[in-house]
């Protein structure tokens, strides 16, 4: 649930605030190709006619790793220091019939990650900016088995 002082890491990347956030991609009006993030032109047929397209919230884990060290900054903009850094999951999630999206995973334990498992989009805290706003970004979380 969005709080007043939360701002997304980039505009136009996902619907926010939103109880069921969606990634904002684009779909070509000419050929139907889906891309993420949004782009105004289509790489498949070279038409310059695309529309915003909200991607599926659920997909499957296509491949993954656990990032075991603090990435260099820049470009990495996370708040951790070498002392506070904890390994985090990164993977590609295949959104059926749409596109593959690289994202953070909320799970980082290799024992709990497996190719093909069901994943769901979530929005998670990432950092705090100089005005005290909480920067949020998108991630995928394993869908609890019911």
């Amino acid at each position: 649930m969005a709080r007043p002082n939360q701002i997304p890491i980039a505009e136009g990347l996902f619907t926010w605030p939103d109880d069921n956030p969606r990634l904002i991609g684009s779909r070509c009006r000419a050929c139907g190709e889906v891309t993420f993030p949004h782009q105004p032109s289509c790489p498949a047929c070279c038409a310059e006619d695309t529309e915003d397209y909200l991607l599926a919230r659920k997909g499957t884990l296509w491949t993954w790793t656990t990032q075991g060290f603090l990435p260099k900054s820049p470009p990495y903009a996370g708040p951790e220091t070498p002392e506070t850094f904890r390994p985090y999951g990164v993977g590609y999630v295949e959104l059926p019939g749409e596109v593959r999206v690289e994202a953070r995973l909320t799970e980082s334990d290799p024992e709990k990650l497996g190719i093909g498992m069901a994943m769901e989009l979530v929005v998670v805290p990432f950092a705090t900016d100089s005005q005290g706003n909480e920067i949020v970004t998108f991630a995928f979380a394993p869908v609890p088995k019911t």
Binding site: V34, T66, P74
Partner: protein, 400 residues
């Protein structure tokens, strides 16, 4: 109908600096070290050069922009110098420019130089990237090891290989590079390591540990090319010629739904197929005598064996464990230590690989000399598995 590059261009001189942490040398000294060796080998004068290509990846840190760094370092006779950059294929791209110029008949003799000077920028790994091809701002925090680690996860899942078996095969890859690097006086890392040490190393990005990753180095490598006819006029008898030079960049379909399985590099298979056609090779495992691949990570070398068609799909683990690619195996890979141990000065790397093929074919590889090799292949994979620039080139004896 184009007939390709085969045997239209000969390499008449090559040079390579010592790779490593060259604190006391700038890019100028590294380029001069490589050039002095190459021009003496070619037996020509600087004024005989008609054009030059310079490959540098991180020009901000290494040399500055443009062709000037090469023109000035060698005080070339005001010949055209073109600076190229194409990720980790940069050095090979410099060579492709020089080779195409000679093949076109535009110049008689051309120089290709690759250089990178990174170690005193304070970075380990690769320096920061700026705006461009890869996601920025909102990127999820994946890194080069993180991207290639995912190739390992996908490979294990696709082929039903246990992570323990895959780790052991990857460890063999790194062990082999250290064994070979120990015999190379120009290599950055010349220490031998044990399989156990690789397996026990700290995890970098699961399942890649420290010894599954190559570093970066300072260094330069260069080639002087001309036509076989001019090479003969210069008195060269043992000619090494270019058999194929192919480049395949990603176009984005890897990220489209269901177009790619994630367990190999699409571009490598495309470039390899074209290169074999250009060189007239039907059975690469039988016909090639040595291979230099882009072993930025151990998993990259493993998967590339399948992408190049020298191992069947899902069979690279077995071939590696059988020692097929060891120095005394049927098809040696990374005889010079590879990126892992010879080192990885990015702009020079492609030319460094050609240097080893060239030395081996001419019988000049010293302690690591193979028995009468005739055909060798080089491979660069710049970028990450789903978005990369892949080059595959083949060189050999003129009569091969």
């Amino acid at each position: 109908m184009a007939r390709g590059i085969k045997d239209k261009v000969a390499i008449i001189g090559m040079g390579c600096s010592r790779f490593g942490e060259r604190w006391n040398d700038g890019p100028e000294e590294l380029m001069i070290e490589a050039f002095d060796e190459a021009i003496a080998d070619a037996g020509i004068a600087k004024d005989d050069l008609g054009a030059a290509w310079l490959g540098v990846f991180f020009q901000e840190q290494s040399t500055g922009k443009s062709g000037l760094p090469l023109s000035q370092a060698l005080r070339l006779p005001n010949i055209p110098v073109t600076r190229v950059e194409n990720l980790c294929a940069t050095g090979t791209e410099a060579l492709r420019g020089a080779v195409y110029a000679v093949a076109a008949g535009a110049v008689d003799i051309a120089l290709a130089m690759g250089v990178e000077k990174l170690k005193d920028t304070g970075y380990s790994g690769l320096p920061e990237r700026t705006k461009g091809t890869f996601e920025d701002l909102w990127l999820p925090g994946s890194t080069a090891p993180g991207s290639f680690a995912q190739l390992a996860s996908a490979y294990a899942a696709k082929h039903g290989v246990s992570m323990e078996d895959l780790k052991r095969a990857m460890a063999h890859v790194s062990w082999k590079s250290h064994e070979n690097g120990a015999l190379n006086p120009k290599a950055h890392l010349r220490n031998r390591i044990t399989i156990e040490k690789v397996l026990e190393a700290p995890m970098i990005s699961y399942p890649l540990g420290l010894y599954d990753c190559c570093g970066v180095s300072d260094g330069a490598a260069c080639a002087i090319v001309t036509t076989p006819e001019i090479a003969r006029e210069l008195g060269k008898t043992d000619l090494v010629t270019v058999k194929a030079m192919q480049l395949a960049p990603s176009n984005g379909v890897e990220m489209s739904h269901a177009s790619w399985d994630g367990a190999h590099a699409m571009t490598a298979r495309i470039a390899a197929k074209r290169a074999y056609e250009e060189a007239g090779i039907r059975n690469p495992r039988e016909e090639l005598d040595l291979i230099e691949v882009h072993d930025c990570f151990s998993i990259t070398e493993l998967v590339t064996m399948e992408d190049l068609g020298v191992s069947g799909d899902g069979e690279a683990v077995r071939d590696i464990m059988d020692g097929v690619f060891d120095r005394d195996g049927a098809l040696p890979v990374q005889v010079d230590g590879g990126l892992k141990c010879f080192g990885h000065p990015i702009g020079a790397t492609g030319l460094r690989m050609v240097y080893e093929i060239y030395l081996q074919i001419l019988g000049r590889a010293g302690e690591r000399q193979l028995d009468n090799p005739r055909l060798g292949l080089t491979h660069n994979l710049g970028g990450i598995p789903n978005r990369n620039v892949c080059s595959v080139s083949i060189f050999g004896r003129y009569d091969a």
